[in-house]
Amino acid sequence: VTPVLRLADGSETSLAPVTIQPEEVASVDINAAIAAAAASQLVGTYGSVALRFQAVSASALYAAMMIHNMGHAIAFHIDAMGESQDFQVGSREGIWWLPNDSASDYLILTNQGKNTLSLNLSLYDASGKQATQQVLLGPTETSRFSTRKLILASGLTGSYGGIKISTNTNAGALDSLHFLFDQTPGFSATLKMFDYDPNATLAERDYAHTGTWTLRAPMLALSTPDLALALPPGTTLQPQLFIRNTTAKTLTANLRFNWRNTTKTGAAPGPSLTLNPYETRRIDVAALQAGGTLPKDANWASVTLTTNGLPDELIAVAASYDQTLQYGAQTPFSDQLSFRWEGGMWQYDAYHDSIITAGNGGTKPTQSAFTIFYNQGTQRYDLEQTLQPDEQMWIDVGQLIREQVPDKNGKLLPPDLTNGSYEFRDLTNTGVGALYEGKVIYDNTYGHVAYGCAECCGYGETIPWYNPIGVPIYTAVADGVNALSSCTSTYDNVSSAFYNNWASANTAIATVDYYGNHTGVAQGSTTSQTQGSIASPKIRVCPLLLRVPSGGVNVQFPVPTKVLPVATQSQGAIICSNGQGWQRIVTNQLQDQFGRAYAHSGILMADILTFGSTNQLGLVPGTGSSPTDSNGDWSDLYSDCTSACPSTGQSVAQQTWTYNSLPLPHANTVVYKCTSITIDGY
């Protein structure tokens, strides 16, 4: 991976490349790298970062910028995001918030593409009153604005409202970041921005199949902080949500909470809202706690927001800070559920700890697997938990290390472990997945909590298990669907996402049932297909896109085709008068062209062995015959004995078979050695 720093004008400076092993987390100290690159032109400036890399897939790399100034309270964690070529018309949507009169803010716009972006930058007050200006952003350029100044200049008032940056071309090249800081109390906050794609459909983003678009924030810190955050005793947070309608139509929103403290968890309904066009509403969660909607001693809540709108027509930002703004935490809203999340860095040392969570956003119980990777990705620590709907798996990484908690295999994390990466997997749901996730890293010196996001995995190519699938007549053969994971570049079985949609092109030749079982009706060839929506690896989200895998179907009468060993009964060394060798008794099986047992008894199996040019043991063949049993099996004694043993030599024979004097098309390769005999590699 080669990090490239771009100045605001887009000019680039490459830093030293780093190689990252599978599941490894590598840190690049930008200050040190700039010094090493002797790039003094970068000092005291700003711009964007690009990461150029070669990997098996674009999803193989996860990256985040962690802006820390050691010895100061302010910290930002910024997830990297690539350019999306297929996102043309759309906008970035955000919320501005000025919590006091002294906080500074930056709205940063970056053009990742090669074409100039013509942008409309609109600001809204809480009621939806709008002020718009034009912004041109050249290729790879970065611009930064102060929303405080823009609001003052536009005549808008209030302490919060909306931001929209829209364009009619190359919307996927625009990235934006909005953050606040106030050096006096040591305050910093990131106000997450969202892509709004007017072409996005509910079906693409309704991961739990509820018919309603849903946003979740997994880790809202409530009024009474978790002791694990190590905030000063007596600190009271003021959790609040900002919810914004990004459209010109009225939208409704419904809130609910799943809270937890050190001993209990529970659910609580929240308020229902009607949001006017472009309106931004503040929800005082602290007041809900004070009013008894949520328990006063609850430490955390996951927030679920449902709407009658389409994806990203409603956005939300959460913030929980004390009155001084010195101590606080945030949690990002996202609609994404996934079968697999690949996380970035967690930290645990004298100054930091990390809490990571995954929740079940689906409607049925699911089995969640959590893995910590460490030692350059070579070691792993695994936990599993069954999660009811809305239930969360809650992992305090520091506690696992400090208290030496064994994983599901009894493994312990090294006591001196300080960082690594992580992963969540949904073991129950394939193709779509029901897990949402969250992570916070908190600084126990300054009481600052920064969140980070993991990367959802999606599927590329979808293919039938077999193409063509061979089906014996009058017999059912299971077929399914495999899909190529964008994160692992391996094929996963996603068949359940394609149930109830299988169809045969010619039911007079083959039929297909709900699960993909193909049954041969008449000898011949046809095709079959199914369809289903599974997570797809777009640059910025993993939407559910329709896939239609198809393949050929060949229906045939089963005929004996090959002999394969299906079990080894015994094997060992033998001695004969002129030497020594090896004997191996196997259960051989006569199989048809579909790889199934040709289960008929009394078929006479006879073979001929032909040794080829590789005959270092100087063997001559000796064969016999045997009848099959009702399973198509028989016990076969393979053996060699020669004066050439002991040695490392080998003799290779082709073993051709007849069944009831008729030839089989498949010949086995038998490798005879002094200490082993293998048949077709078995």
Partner: protein, 253 residues
Amino acid sequence: MRPFLLVCWFLATQLSANATCNTSPDLSASVAAFRVQQASRIEALLRFGDENGLCFGIEEVDAALLTELADFDVKNSTVQATIKSILGPGHPITTEKHHGVIEVRPRSRRATSRNILDFVISKWEANRGELQLVSWLLRIQLATELNPQIKGFGGDARAGDTGDEVGPFNERNVPVRYLLDKIVAQSRGGSSWIVQVNWEELHDFTLFQNRSAWTIVEYEGQKANYAGLLNGIAAGLNQKTNADDKHPPGAAR
């Protein structure tokens, strides 16, 4: 009375299930009844041996003996007479007992020259092992003595009952037939050896450098399905061997 009869029936069943070769078979012993339906003559002989703890060495077979089905119903006879009845008047035989095995030979062949079963193995040693493996070791010993230039053998053969172990053997100057007798006599459930080449081929020693002259059939009780195996032997009898192609390099002719 009833308990006594039950015990007797149990013992008889147990003896039958664990039948081994009678080390001193009495050919004049009485046979109250023997009945088999739709079996070849060789299969009937194997079932007779299985039921009565008799092991056979069958020195000549033909396709008819191996495959033609008939019903057999013998009552109040002797072992010797039952064997002759099973093989039928078309196959007159003589019988000899060696090492607890009843060797069955065609009467008309007695005067002919010696065959491969008469070949004397000068020295044969084999560790205790599965019966079919020991049979294979004897086979390669025979081939090696027929052609000392053969370095070794590799092959596959029917494994049979992998729990049926015999040996060890350490024999000097013993004909093949008697070594086969000794092997089957030790079979835990009883067995018989059967030649699997026709009579003429049995006298062509060069064939047996890479081909087995016999097969050993282990008794498997009532559930046994010998027909498949015997059909295989019959099929082998019909395949004319191209001896020229099969002779290993340097083989004696």
